[in-house]
Amino acid sequence: MVKLAPGGPFSRERAFPPEVLKKLEEKYDLDKPIYTQYWLYMKRVVFEFDLGPSTRYADRSVNELIATKVRYSMTLGFGAMVFALLLGITAGLTASLNHNKFLDYAPMGMAMVGVSVPDFVMAYILMIIFGLSLNWLPVAGVESWQGYVLPCITLGFVYAASISRLTRGGMLEILGQDFIRTAKAKGLPKHVILLRHSLRGGLLPLVSYLGPASAGILTGSIVVEEIFLIPGIGKLLIESATNRDYTLALGCVIVFALLILVFNMVVDLVYGFLDPRVKYE
Protein backbone atom coordinates (compact mmCIF):
# COMPACT_ATOMS: atom_id res chain seq x y z
CA MET A 1 0.00 0.00 0.00
CA VAL A 2 2.81 2.31 0.88
CA LYS A 3 4.09 1.92 -2.64
CA LEU A 4 0.92 3.15 -4.26
CA ALA A 5 1.62 6.71 -3.17
CA PRO A 6 3.34 8.69 -5.93
CA GLY A 7 7.04 9.39 -5.66
CA GLY A 8 9.79 7.21 -4.33
CA PRO A 9 12.50 7.36 -1.71
CA PHE A 10 14.94 8.74 -4.22
CA SER A 11 12.87 11.38 -5.88
CA ARG A 12 14.32 14.55 -4.49
CA GLU A 13 14.46 18.05 -5.76
CA ARG A 14 17.83 17.39 -7.26
CA ALA A 15 17.46 14.19 -9.20
CA PHE A 16 20.13 11.52 -8.95
CA PRO A 17 21.95 10.59 -12.11
CA PRO A 18 20.10 7.62 -13.64
CA GLU A 19 22.91 5.11 -13.11
CA VAL A 20 23.17 5.93 -9.40
CA LEU A 21 19.41 5.57 -9.10
CA LYS A 22 19.59 2.17 -10.74
CA LYS A 23 22.29 1.00 -8.34
CA LEU A 24 20.27 2.18 -5.36
CA GLU A 25 17.14 0.47 -6.55
CA GLU A 26 19.07 -2.74 -6.97
CA LYS A 27 20.39 -2.51 -3.45
CA TYR A 28 16.92 -2.17 -2.02
CA ASP A 29 15.42 -4.68 -4.48
CA LEU A 30 13.14 -1.95 -5.82
CA ASP A 31 13.89 -3.03 -9.39
CA LYS A 32 12.20 -6.39 -8.87
CA PRO A 33 8.50 -6.92 -9.43
CA ILE A 34 6.26 -6.04 -6.51
CA TYR A 35 5.40 -9.61 -5.48
CA THR A 36 9.08 -10.54 -5.31
CA GLN A 37 9.71 -7.49 -3.20
CA TYR A 38 6.93 -8.58 -0.88
CA TRP A 39 8.23 -12.11 -0.63
CA LEU A 40 11.80 -11.09 0.06
CA TYR A 41 10.66 -8.62 2.68
CA MET A 42 8.38 -11.02 4.50
CA LYS A 43 11.07 -13.70 4.54
CA ARG A 44 13.48 -11.37 6.18
CA VAL A 45 11.06 -10.01 8.73
CA VAL A 46 9.62 -13.31 9.83
CA PHE A 47 12.74 -15.44 9.89
CA GLU A 48 15.39 -12.95 10.87
CA PHE A 49 13.43 -10.23 12.68
CA ASP A 50 15.19 -7.89 10.32
CA LEU A 51 13.09 -5.03 9.06
CA GLY A 52 15.73 -4.20 6.48
CA PRO A 53 17.80 -1.12 5.83
CA SER A 54 16.19 2.27 5.77
CA THR A 55 15.74 3.51 2.25
CA ARG A 56 16.30 7.05 3.44
CA TYR A 57 19.13 6.74 5.91
CA ALA A 58 21.44 4.48 3.97
CA ASP A 59 23.74 3.54 6.79
CA ARG A 60 21.04 2.72 9.36
CA SER A 61 18.83 -0.31 9.56
CA VAL A 62 15.16 0.06 10.41
CA ASN A 63 15.64 -2.11 13.49
CA GLU A 64 18.26 0.28 14.75
CA LEU A 65 16.19 3.38 14.01
CA ILE A 66 13.18 2.00 15.78
CA ALA A 67 15.26 0.78 18.69
CA THR A 68 16.57 4.26 19.38
CA LYS A 69 13.07 5.74 19.32
CA VAL A 70 11.13 3.06 21.11
CA ARG A 71 12.16 4.33 24.53
CA TYR A 72 10.37 7.64 24.03
CA SER A 73 7.20 6.08 22.71
CA MET A 74 7.10 3.48 25.45
CA THR A 75 7.52 6.10 28.15
CA LEU A 76 4.79 8.21 26.61
CA GLY A 77 2.37 5.34 26.09
CA PHE A 78 3.05 3.82 29.45
CA GLY A 79 2.73 7.16 31.21
CA ALA A 80 -0.52 7.89 29.44
CA MET A 81 -1.91 4.47 30.36
CA VAL A 82 -0.92 4.77 34.01
CA PHE A 83 -2.41 8.26 34.15
CA ALA A 84 -5.62 7.06 32.49
CA LEU A 85 -5.95 4.08 34.84
CA LEU A 86 -5.23 6.02 38.02
CA LEU A 87 -7.56 8.88 37.20
CA GLY A 88 -10.21 6.74 35.54
CA ILE A 89 -10.47 4.09 38.24
CA THR A 90 -10.42 6.64 41.05
CA ALA A 91 -13.12 8.71 39.41
CA GLY A 92 -15.20 5.68 38.50
CA LEU A 93 -15.02 4.17 41.98
CA THR A 94 -15.84 7.50 43.60
CA ALA A 95 -18.82 7.91 41.33
CA SER A 96 -20.15 4.39 41.84
CA LEU A 97 -19.85 4.60 45.62
CA ASN A 98 -21.72 7.90 45.63
CA HIS A 99 -24.37 6.91 43.16
CA ASN A 100 -26.69 9.81 42.23
CA LYS A 101 -24.92 12.26 44.49
CA PHE A 102 -22.63 15.16 43.71
CA LEU A 103 -19.54 12.94 43.70
CA ASP A 104 -21.21 10.86 41.02
CA TYR A 105 -22.30 13.71 38.77
CA ALA A 106 -19.06 15.72 39.01
CA PRO A 107 -16.65 13.05 37.75
CA MET A 108 -19.11 11.85 35.15
CA GLY A 109 -19.52 15.39 33.84
CA MET A 110 -15.75 15.62 33.52
CA ALA A 111 -15.71 12.29 31.72
CA MET A 112 -18.32 13.57 29.29
CA VAL A 113 -16.05 16.49 28.44
CA GLY A 114 -13.04 14.20 28.29
CA VAL A 115 -14.64 11.92 25.73
CA SER A 116 -15.81 14.70 23.47
CA VAL A 117 -12.69 16.87 23.29
CA PRO A 118 -10.26 15.73 20.59
CA ASP A 119 -6.57 15.14 21.36
CA PHE A 120 -5.16 18.10 19.56
CA VAL A 121 -7.57 20.58 21.11
CA MET A 122 -6.78 19.15 24.51
CA ALA A 123 -3.07 19.43 23.79
CA TYR A 124 -3.24 23.11 22.96
CA ILE A 125 -5.47 23.93 25.91
CA LEU A 126 -3.00 22.21 28.26
CA MET A 127 -0.04 23.88 26.58
CA ILE A 128 -1.60 27.29 26.94
CA ILE A 129 -2.61 26.87 30.57
CA PHE A 130 0.28 24.94 32.10
CA GLY A 131 3.04 25.76 29.68
CA LEU A 132 2.56 29.30 28.52
CA SER A 133 0.43 30.99 31.20
CA LEU A 134 1.59 29.30 34.36
CA ASN A 135 4.95 28.30 32.96
CA TRP A 136 5.04 25.14 35.08
CA LEU A 137 5.82 22.61 32.43
CA PRO A 138 7.64 22.51 29.12
CA VAL A 139 5.41 22.44 26.07
CA ALA A 140 7.76 20.54 23.79
CA GLY A 141 10.61 18.07 23.91
CA VAL A 142 11.43 15.47 26.50
CA GLU A 143 14.81 16.46 27.84
CA SER A 144 13.51 15.99 31.39
CA TRP A 145 10.64 13.95 32.82
CA GLN A 146 8.50 17.08 33.08
CA GLY A 147 8.38 17.05 29.33
CA TYR A 148 6.25 13.92 29.45
CA VAL A 149 3.60 15.31 31.78
CA LEU A 150 1.49 17.25 29.30
CA PRO A 151 1.75 14.68 26.49
CA CYS A 152 0.78 11.88 28.83
CA ILE A 153 -2.22 13.82 30.08
CA THR A 154 -3.26 14.74 26.56
CA LEU A 155 -2.97 11.19 25.36
CA GLY A 156 -4.43 9.58 28.47
CA PHE A 157 -7.35 11.86 29.23
CA VAL A 158 -9.82 10.43 26.74
CA TYR A 159 -9.05 6.99 28.06
CA ALA A 160 -9.31 8.13 31.66
CA ALA A 161 -12.78 9.35 30.79
CA SER A 162 -13.85 6.06 29.20
CA ILE A 163 -12.21 4.06 31.97
CA SER A 164 -14.05 6.03 34.65
CA ARG A 165 -17.35 5.37 32.92
CA LEU A 166 -16.64 1.67 32.54
CA THR A 167 -15.48 1.41 36.14
CA ARG A 168 -18.59 3.19 37.37
CA GLY A 169 -20.89 1.07 35.21
CA GLY A 170 -19.18 -2.16 36.15
CA MET A 171 -19.17 -1.36 39.85
CA LEU A 172 -22.80 -0.25 39.91
CA GLU A 173 -23.78 -3.44 38.17
CA ILE A 174 -21.89 -5.59 40.65
CA LEU A 175 -23.04 -3.65 43.70
CA GLY A 176 -26.63 -4.36 42.70
CA GLN A 177 -26.05 -8.10 42.44
CA ASP A 178 -27.61 -10.65 44.75
CA PHE A 179 -24.25 -11.91 45.93
CA ILE A 180 -23.44 -8.49 47.33
CA ARG A 181 -26.63 -8.72 49.36
CA THR A 182 -25.43 -12.13 50.52
CA ALA A 183 -22.11 -10.63 51.54
CA LYS A 184 -23.94 -7.98 53.55
CA ALA A 185 -26.19 -10.62 55.11
CA LYS A 186 -23.04 -12.36 56.30
CA GLY A 187 -22.12 -9.28 58.26
CA LEU A 188 -18.93 -8.56 56.36
CA PRO A 189 -17.33 -5.15 56.84
CA LYS A 190 -17.71 -2.59 54.04
CA HIS A 191 -14.12 -2.73 52.85
CA VAL A 192 -14.27 -6.50 52.42
CA ILE A 193 -17.47 -6.23 50.41
CA LEU A 194 -15.83 -3.64 48.21
CA LEU A 195 -12.35 -5.10 47.79
CA ARG A 196 -13.04 -8.81 47.90
CA HIS A 197 -16.54 -9.10 46.52
CA SER A 198 -17.03 -6.20 44.14
CA LEU A 199 -13.76 -5.03 42.65
CA ARG A 200 -12.95 -8.05 40.53
CA GLY A 201 -16.26 -8.27 38.76
CA GLY A 202 -16.60 -4.51 38.67
CA LEU A 203 -13.31 -4.03 36.86
CA LEU A 204 -13.81 -6.79 34.30
CA PRO A 205 -15.47 -4.57 31.66
CA LEU A 206 -12.50 -2.26 32.08
CA VAL A 207 -10.03 -5.08 31.52
CA SER A 208 -11.55 -6.06 28.22
CA TYR A 209 -11.43 -2.43 27.19
CA LEU A 210 -7.70 -2.21 27.85
CA GLY A 211 -6.83 -4.02 24.62
CA PRO A 212 -8.54 -1.50 22.34
CA ALA A 213 -7.40 1.29 24.67
CA SER A 214 -3.73 0.43 24.31
CA ALA A 215 -4.19 0.24 20.57
CA GLY A 216 -5.85 3.65 20.69
CA ILE A 217 -3.09 5.10 22.82
CA LEU A 218 -0.56 3.73 20.36
CA THR A 219 -2.17 5.37 17.37
CA GLY A 220 -2.95 8.47 19.40
CA SER A 221 0.72 8.73 20.23
CA ILE A 222 1.46 9.45 16.58
CA VAL A 223 -0.40 12.73 16.78
CA VAL A 224 0.76 13.59 20.26
CA GLU A 225 4.42 12.94 19.47
CA GLU A 226 4.08 15.24 16.52
CA ILE A 227 2.45 18.01 18.57
CA PHE A 228 4.86 17.85 21.49
CA LEU A 229 7.91 17.11 19.35
CA ILE A 230 8.72 13.82 20.99
CA PRO A 231 11.19 11.79 18.92
CA GLY A 232 9.31 8.50 19.20
CA ILE A 233 8.13 5.86 16.76
CA GLY A 234 5.02 7.86 15.95
CA LYS A 235 7.05 10.78 14.76
CA LEU A 236 9.35 8.38 12.93
CA LEU A 237 6.36 6.91 11.14
CA ILE A 238 5.12 10.28 9.99
CA GLU A 239 8.58 11.27 8.76
CA SER A 240 9.10 8.00 7.01
CA ALA A 241 5.76 8.29 5.28
CA THR A 242 6.48 11.79 4.05
CA ASN A 243 9.94 10.70 2.91
CA ARG A 244 8.57 7.60 1.15
CA ASP A 245 10.95 5.59 3.28
CA TYR A 246 9.21 2.30 2.49
CA THR A 247 11.04 -0.03 4.78
CA LEU A 248 10.96 2.35 7.72
CA ALA A 249 7.26 3.10 7.40
CA LEU A 250 6.47 -0.59 7.06
CA GLY A 251 8.73 -1.36 9.98
CA CYS A 252 6.92 1.11 12.22
CA VAL A 253 3.54 -0.28 11.21
CA ILE A 254 4.69 -3.83 11.90
CA VAL A 255 5.97 -2.86 15.32
CA PHE A 256 2.63 -1.18 16.07
CA ALA A 257 0.69 -4.20 14.93
CA LEU A 258 2.85 -6.51 17.03
CA LEU A 259 2.40 -4.35 20.10
CA ILE A 260 -1.38 -4.32 19.67
CA LEU A 261 -1.38 -8.08 19.29
CA VAL A 262 0.65 -8.52 22.44
CA PHE A 263 -1.59 -6.15 24.42
CA ASN A 264 -4.69 -8.01 23.41
CA MET A 265 -3.19 -11.32 24.37
CA VAL A 266 -2.13 -10.00 27.75
CA VAL A 267 -5.62 -8.61 28.29
CA ASP A 268 -7.21 -11.95 27.47
CA LEU A 269 -4.92 -13.70 29.91
CA VAL A 270 -5.66 -11.19 32.65
CA TYR A 271 -9.39 -11.57 32.01
CA GLY A 272 -9.15 -15.32 32.34
CA PHE A 273 -7.20 -14.91 35.51
CA LEU A 274 -9.85 -12.61 37.01
CA ASP A 275 -12.92 -14.55 35.96
CA PRO A 276 -12.81 -18.19 37.05
CA ARG A 277 -15.60 -19.04 34.61
CA VAL A 278 -13.31 -18.40 31.65
CA LYS A 279 -11.04 -21.36 31.08
CA TYR A 280 -8.39 -21.89 28.46
CA GLU A 281 -7.86 -25.36 27.18
Binding site: A185, P189, R196, R277
Partner: protein, 329 residues
Protein backbone atom coordinates in the same frame (compact mmCIF):
# COMPACT_ATOMS: atom_id res chain seq x y z
CA UNK B 1 -40.64 -17.53 74.88
CA UNK B 2 -40.46 -15.01 72.07
CA UNK B 3 -36.99 -14.63 70.68
CA UNK B 4 -38.01 -11.84 68.33
CA UNK B 5 -40.81 -9.35 68.71
CA UNK B 6 -41.77 -6.98 65.94
CA UNK B 7 -44.17 -4.22 66.83
CA UNK B 8 -45.84 -1.50 64.82
CA UNK B 9 -43.29 -1.70 62.04
CA UNK B 10 -43.86 0.69 59.13
CA UNK B 11 -41.53 0.65 56.12
CA UNK B 12 -41.96 2.96 53.15
CA UNK B 13 -40.22 3.31 49.81
CA UNK B 14 -39.86 6.75 48.33
CA UNK B 15 -40.18 6.23 44.61
CA UNK B 16 -40.99 8.34 41.57
CA UNK B 17 -44.58 7.11 41.68
CA UNK B 18 -44.99 8.28 45.25
CA UNK B 19 -44.57 6.76 48.67
CA UNK B 20 -45.04 3.02 48.70
CA UNK B 21 -45.93 1.65 52.10
CA UNK B 22 -44.53 -1.86 51.84
CA UNK B 23 -44.99 -2.75 55.50
CA UNK B 24 -47.89 -1.17 57.35
CA UNK B 25 -48.01 -1.44 61.15
CA UNK B 26 -46.84 -5.01 61.33
CA UNK B 27 -46.89 -6.92 64.62
CA UNK B 28 -45.61 -10.42 65.15
CA UNK B 29 -43.50 -12.62 67.37
CA UNK B 30 -41.15 -15.47 66.70
CA UNK B 31 -40.94 -18.15 69.37
CA UNK B 32 -37.66 -19.82 70.18
CA UNK B 33 -37.29 -23.06 68.26
CA UNK B 34 -40.33 -22.70 66.03
CA UNK B 35 -40.69 -22.66 62.27
CA UNK B 36 -42.74 -19.65 61.29
CA UNK B 37 -44.16 -19.56 57.79
CA UNK B 38 -44.92 -16.27 56.09
CA UNK B 39 -47.20 -16.54 53.08
CA UNK B 40 -48.87 -14.02 50.83
CA UNK B 41 -49.01 -12.85 47.27
CA UNK B 42 -46.17 -11.13 45.48
CA UNK B 43 -45.63 -7.63 46.82
CA UNK B 44 -47.29 -8.25 50.18
CA UNK B 45 -44.14 -7.20 52.01
CA UNK B 46 -42.71 -10.55 53.05
CA UNK B 47 -39.19 -9.88 51.85
CA UNK B 48 -39.18 -6.27 52.94
CA UNK B 49 -40.14 -7.12 56.49
CA UNK B 50 -37.42 -9.77 56.70
CA UNK B 51 -34.80 -7.50 55.17
CA UNK B 52 -35.75 -4.98 57.82
CA UNK B 53 -35.00 -7.56 60.52
CA UNK B 54 -31.56 -8.02 58.98
CA UNK B 55 -30.91 -4.31 58.61
CA UNK B 56 -30.49 -4.86 54.87
CA UNK B 57 -33.06 -2.43 53.49
CA UNK B 58 -31.71 -0.11 50.83
CA UNK B 59 -31.98 3.23 52.63
CA UNK B 60 -32.85 5.34 50.62
CA UNK B 61 -35.27 4.63 48.88
CA UNK B 62 -36.52 2.71 51.90
CA UNK B 63 -37.39 4.44 55.14
CA UNK B 64 -38.38 2.91 58.44
CA UNK B 65 -41.15 5.16 59.70
CA UNK B 66 -41.78 3.58 63.04
CA UNK B 67 -41.66 0.37 64.97
CA UNK B 68 -39.53 -1.78 67.19
CA UNK B 69 -37.75 -5.04 66.56
CA UNK B 70 -36.91 -6.56 69.91
CA UNK B 71 -34.25 -9.25 69.76
CA UNK B 72 -33.91 -10.38 73.34
CA UNK B 73 -34.07 -7.09 75.19
CA UNK B 74 -32.57 -4.93 72.49
CA UNK B 75 -34.25 -2.96 69.75
CA UNK B 76 -32.46 -3.85 66.51
CA UNK B 77 -33.73 -0.66 64.89
CA UNK B 78 -31.66 1.35 67.38
CA UNK B 79 -28.48 -0.52 66.55
CA UNK B 80 -25.67 1.20 64.68
CA UNK B 81 -24.40 -0.25 61.41
CA UNK B 82 -21.41 -1.74 63.19
CA UNK B 83 -23.60 -3.37 65.83
CA UNK B 84 -25.96 -4.75 63.20
CA UNK B 85 -23.00 -6.20 61.35
CA UNK B 86 -22.15 -8.28 64.42
CA UNK B 87 -25.71 -9.66 64.48
CA UNK B 88 -25.93 -10.47 60.77
CA UNK B 89 -24.59 -13.83 59.77
CA UNK B 90 -23.88 -14.57 63.40
CA UNK B 91 -27.06 -14.37 65.48
CA UNK B 92 -29.51 -13.97 62.62
CA UNK B 93 -28.68 -15.22 59.17
CA UNK B 94 -30.58 -15.24 55.94
CA UNK B 95 -30.68 -17.27 52.77
CA UNK B 96 -32.27 -16.12 49.58
CA UNK B 97 -34.33 -17.30 46.69
CA UNK B 98 -31.85 -17.76 43.91
CA UNK B 99 -28.72 -19.72 44.78
CA UNK B 100 -27.49 -19.18 41.23
CA UNK B 101 -26.98 -15.47 41.77
CA UNK B 102 -26.44 -15.36 45.51
CA UNK B 103 -22.97 -16.85 45.54
CA UNK B 104 -20.12 -14.72 44.30
CA UNK B 105 -18.98 -16.25 40.99
CA UNK B 106 -15.48 -14.84 41.33
CA UNK B 107 -14.63 -16.41 44.67
CA UNK B 108 -14.08 -19.99 45.73
CA UNK B 109 -16.62 -21.62 48.01
CA UNK B 110 -13.88 -21.92 50.61
CA UNK B 111 -13.34 -18.15 50.66
CA UNK B 112 -17.04 -17.46 50.89
CA UNK B 113 -17.52 -19.87 53.76
CA UNK B 114 -14.39 -19.06 55.70
CA UNK B 115 -14.95 -15.33 55.66
CA UNK B 116 -18.05 -15.66 57.82
CA UNK B 117 -15.84 -16.87 60.62
CA UNK B 118 -13.05 -14.51 59.76
CA UNK B 119 -15.15 -11.58 60.97
CA UNK B 120 -17.40 -13.13 63.60
CA UNK B 121 -15.20 -15.50 65.54
CA UNK B 122 -11.68 -15.86 66.78
CA UNK B 123 -11.15 -19.20 65.08
CA UNK B 124 -7.80 -19.85 63.44
CA UNK B 125 -7.96 -20.59 59.71
CA UNK B 126 -7.40 -24.27 60.41
CA UNK B 127 -10.26 -24.40 62.91
CA UNK B 128 -12.51 -22.42 60.59
CA UNK B 129 -11.75 -24.81 57.78
CA UNK B 130 -12.54 -27.80 59.94
CA UNK B 131 -15.83 -26.21 60.99
CA UNK B 132 -16.78 -25.55 57.34
CA UNK B 133 -16.13 -29.13 56.33
CA UNK B 134 -18.01 -30.37 59.37
CA UNK B 135 -21.11 -28.36 58.44
CA UNK B 136 -20.88 -29.37 54.78
CA UNK B 137 -20.80 -32.97 55.90
CA UNK B 138 -23.76 -32.50 58.24
CA UNK B 139 -25.79 -31.06 55.39
CA UNK B 140 -25.20 -34.17 53.34
CA UNK B 141 -22.99 -32.59 50.75
CA UNK B 142 -21.13 -35.38 48.96
CA UNK B 143 -17.37 -35.03 48.77
CA UNK B 144 -17.21 -31.84 50.87
CA UNK B 145 -13.47 -31.36 50.38
CA UNK B 146 -13.96 -31.12 46.63
CA UNK B 147 -16.91 -28.70 46.83
CA UNK B 148 -15.04 -26.63 49.35
CA UNK B 149 -12.37 -25.94 46.78
CA UNK B 150 -14.73 -25.34 43.87
CA UNK B 151 -16.09 -22.22 42.29
CA UNK B 152 -19.88 -21.75 42.37
CA UNK B 153 -20.28 -22.35 38.63
CA UNK B 154 -18.97 -25.86 39.12
CA UNK B 155 -21.89 -26.79 41.39
CA UNK B 156 -25.54 -27.61 40.71
CA UNK B 157 -28.38 -25.42 41.94
CA UNK B 158 -29.30 -27.72 44.80
CA UNK B 159 -25.70 -27.89 45.93
CA UNK B 160 -25.42 -24.13 45.77
CA UNK B 161 -28.43 -23.73 48.00
CA UNK B 162 -26.94 -26.26 50.42
CA UNK B 163 -23.75 -24.22 50.43
CA UNK B 164 -25.82 -21.11 51.18
CA UNK B 165 -27.48 -22.90 54.05
CA UNK B 166 -24.13 -24.15 55.31
CA UNK B 167 -22.83 -20.61 55.17
CA UNK B 168 -25.70 -19.38 57.29
CA UNK B 169 -25.27 -22.12 59.88
CA UNK B 170 -21.53 -21.94 60.48
CA UNK B 171 -21.92 -19.90 63.64
CA UNK B 172 -25.14 -21.54 64.83
CA UNK B 173 -27.41 -18.52 64.60
CA UNK B 174 -30.49 -18.23 66.79
CA UNK B 175 -32.64 -17.30 63.80
CA UNK B 176 -32.47 -18.42 60.20
CA UNK B 177 -34.53 -16.48 57.70
CA UNK B 178 -35.18 -18.34 54.46
CA UNK B 179 -36.74 -16.19 51.74
CA UNK B 180 -38.32 -18.61 49.25
CA UNK B 181 -35.31 -20.92 49.48
CA UNK B 182 -36.64 -23.46 47.01
CA UNK B 183 -38.41 -21.39 44.35
CA UNK B 184 -35.47 -21.55 41.96
CA UNK B 185 -34.90 -25.30 42.31
CA UNK B 186 -36.58 -28.28 40.72
CA UNK B 187 -39.13 -30.25 42.64
CA UNK B 188 -37.10 -33.17 44.00
CA UNK B 189 -34.37 -30.82 45.16
CA UNK B 190 -37.02 -28.59 46.75
CA UNK B 191 -38.17 -31.41 48.96
CA UNK B 192 -34.59 -32.21 49.99
CA UNK B 193 -33.87 -28.61 50.94
CA UNK B 194 -37.08 -28.35 52.96
CA UNK B 195 -36.28 -31.57 54.79
CA UNK B 196 -32.89 -30.13 55.53
CA UNK B 197 -34.41 -27.02 57.09
CA UNK B 198 -36.70 -29.16 59.22
CA UNK B 199 -33.68 -31.18 60.30
CA UNK B 200 -31.74 -28.08 61.28
CA UNK B 201 -34.68 -26.83 63.29
CA UNK B 202 -34.95 -30.15 65.15
CA UNK B 203 -31.24 -30.74 65.73
CA UNK B 204 -30.13 -27.28 66.75
CA UNK B 205 -33.35 -25.63 67.88
CA UNK B 206 -32.74 -22.86 65.37
CA UNK B 207 -35.83 -20.69 64.90
CA UNK B 208 -36.68 -20.46 61.25
CA UNK B 209 -38.69 -17.89 59.38
CA UNK B 210 -39.71 -19.43 56.09
CA UNK B 211 -41.11 -17.21 53.39
CA UNK B 212 -43.01 -19.05 50.69
CA UNK B 213 -45.80 -18.86 48.16
CA UNK B 214 -46.55 -22.49 48.59
CA UNK B 215 -49.29 -23.42 51.09
CA UNK B 216 -48.22 -27.04 50.72
CA UNK B 217 -44.77 -26.23 52.07
CA UNK B 218 -46.36 -24.39 54.96
CA UNK B 219 -48.53 -27.35 55.86
CA UNK B 220 -45.57 -29.72 55.87
CA UNK B 221 -43.08 -27.65 57.72
CA UNK B 222 -44.38 -24.77 59.77
CA UNK B 223 -45.49 -24.71 63.40
CA UNK B 224 -47.06 -21.33 62.96
CA UNK B 225 -48.19 -19.40 59.92
CA UNK B 226 -48.81 -15.79 59.22
CA UNK B 227 -50.59 -14.55 56.16
CA UNK B 228 -49.52 -11.17 54.84
CA UNK B 229 -51.56 -8.90 52.66
CA UNK B 230 -50.69 -5.37 51.56
CA UNK B 231 -47.91 -5.03 54.09
CA UNK B 232 -50.13 -6.14 56.98
CA UNK B 233 -50.83 -9.38 58.76
CA UNK B 234 -54.19 -10.67 57.66
CA UNK B 235 -54.16 -13.68 59.92
CA UNK B 236 -51.81 -15.53 62.19
CA UNK B 237 -52.07 -18.81 64.00
CA UNK B 238 -50.86 -22.37 64.25
CA UNK B 239 -50.82 -24.37 61.04
CA UNK B 240 -53.98 -26.11 62.15
CA UNK B 241 -55.68 -22.80 62.92
CA UNK B 242 -54.85 -21.48 59.49
CA UNK B 243 -55.79 -24.63 57.57
CA UNK B 244 -58.79 -25.87 59.51
CA UNK B 245 -60.13 -22.85 61.39
CA UNK B 246 -59.58 -20.20 58.74
CA UNK B 247 -61.07 -16.81 59.59
CA UNK B 248 -59.77 -14.23 57.13
CA UNK B 249 -61.36 -14.23 53.67
CA UNK B 250 -57.96 -13.70 52.08
CA UNK B 251 -56.51 -16.77 53.78
CA UNK B 252 -59.46 -18.71 52.50
CA UNK B 253 -58.73 -17.50 48.99
CA UNK B 254 -55.11 -18.58 49.33
CA UNK B 255 -56.11 -22.04 50.50
CA UNK B 256 -58.24 -22.50 47.43
CA UNK B 257 -55.14 -21.75 45.40
CA UNK B 258 -53.42 -24.97 46.49
CA UNK B 259 -53.04 -26.92 43.28
CA UNK B 260 -55.11 -30.07 43.27
CA UNK B 261 -54.11 -33.20 41.40
CA UNK B 262 -56.10 -32.19 38.35
CA UNK B 263 -53.95 -29.14 37.79
CA UNK B 264 -50.79 -29.52 35.78
CA UNK B 265 -47.63 -28.64 37.70
CA UNK B 266 -46.27 -25.27 36.71
CA UNK B 267 -49.71 -23.71 36.28
CA UNK B 268 -49.77 -20.41 38.09
CA UNK B 269 -53.04 -20.19 39.96
CA UNK B 270 -54.60 -16.91 40.88
CA UNK B 271 -58.05 -17.77 42.08
CA UNK B 272 -58.50 -14.55 44.01
CA UNK B 273 -59.98 -12.08 41.55
CA UNK B 274 -58.54 -8.59 41.31
CA UNK B 275 -55.07 -7.11 41.53
CA UNK B 276 -52.85 -6.73 44.61
CA UNK B 277 -53.48 -3.49 46.47
CA UNK B 278 -51.98 -0.19 45.45
CA UNK B 279 -49.48 0.41 48.23
CA UNK B 280 -49.21 4.11 47.52
CA UNK B 281 -52.77 4.45 48.81
CA UNK B 282 -52.40 4.37 52.54
CA UNK B 283 -55.32 4.83 54.80
CA UNK B 284 -57.83 3.67 57.28
CA UNK B 285 -59.46 0.81 55.49
CA UNK B 286 -58.99 -2.89 55.01
CA UNK B 287 -56.34 -3.51 52.35
CA UNK B 288 -58.31 -6.47 51.00
CA UNK B 289 -61.64 -4.67 50.80
CA UNK B 290 -61.62 -4.24 47.01
CA UNK B 291 -61.27 -7.96 46.37
CA UNK B 292 -63.28 -9.37 49.23
CA UNK B 293 -66.57 -11.22 48.78
CA UNK B 294 -67.68 -10.27 52.28
CA UNK B 295 -66.92 -6.56 52.05
CA UNK B 296 -69.23 -4.13 53.85
CA UNK B 297 -69.28 -0.41 54.52
CA UNK B 298 -67.08 -0.44 57.64
CA UNK B 299 -64.30 -2.27 55.76
CA UNK B 300 -63.79 0.85 53.67
CA UNK B 301 -63.84 3.39 56.45
CA UNK B 302 -61.70 1.82 59.16
CA UNK B 303 -58.80 -0.56 59.34
CA UNK B 304 -60.14 -3.65 61.10
CA UNK B 305 -58.74 -4.18 64.60
CA UNK B 306 -56.87 -7.28 65.61
CA UNK B 307 -59.43 -9.84 66.67
CA UNK B 308 -58.62 -12.94 68.65
CA UNK B 309 -60.07 -16.21 67.58
CA UNK B 310 -59.23 -18.37 70.58
CA UNK B 311 -58.75 -17.89 74.30
CA UNK B 312 -54.96 -17.73 74.50
CA UNK B 313 -54.79 -15.25 71.64
CA UNK B 314 -52.47 -17.41 69.54
CA UNK B 315 -54.84 -17.25 66.58
CA UNK B 316 -55.85 -13.80 65.43
CA UNK B 317 -56.89 -11.92 62.32
CA UNK B 318 -57.62 -8.42 61.07
CA UNK B 319 -61.15 -8.52 59.72
CA UNK B 320 -64.63 -7.19 60.51
CA UNK B 321 -66.49 -9.95 58.79
CA UNK B 322 -64.51 -13.15 59.15
CA UNK B 323 -65.57 -16.38 57.57
CA UNK B 324 -66.86 -18.92 60.03
CA UNK B 325 -63.84 -20.83 61.12
CA UNK B 326 -64.97 -24.42 60.85
CA UNK B 327 -63.99 -26.92 58.22
CA UNK B 328 -62.20 -25.47 55.22
CA UNK B 329 -59.69 -26.83 52.76
Amino acid sequence: MAILKVSDLVVEFHTDEGIVRAVDRLNFELEAGEVLGIVGESGSGKSVSCLTLMGLLPIPPAKIRSGKILFGDNDLLKYSNAEMRKIRGHEISMIFQDPFTCLNPYLKISTQLMEVMEFHSKKTPAEARRRCLEVLEQLGIPDPELRFNSYPHQLSGGLKQRIMIAMSLLLQPKILIADEPTTALDVTIQAQILDLLKQINKDHGTSIILITHDMGVVAGLCDRVQVMYGGRLAERGSSDDIFYRTRHPYTKGLLYSIPSLTVKPGDRLDPIPGAPPDLTRVGDFCAFADRCDFVQEDCRTHRPPVTQSNEDGSHWFECYHPVEGEKNA
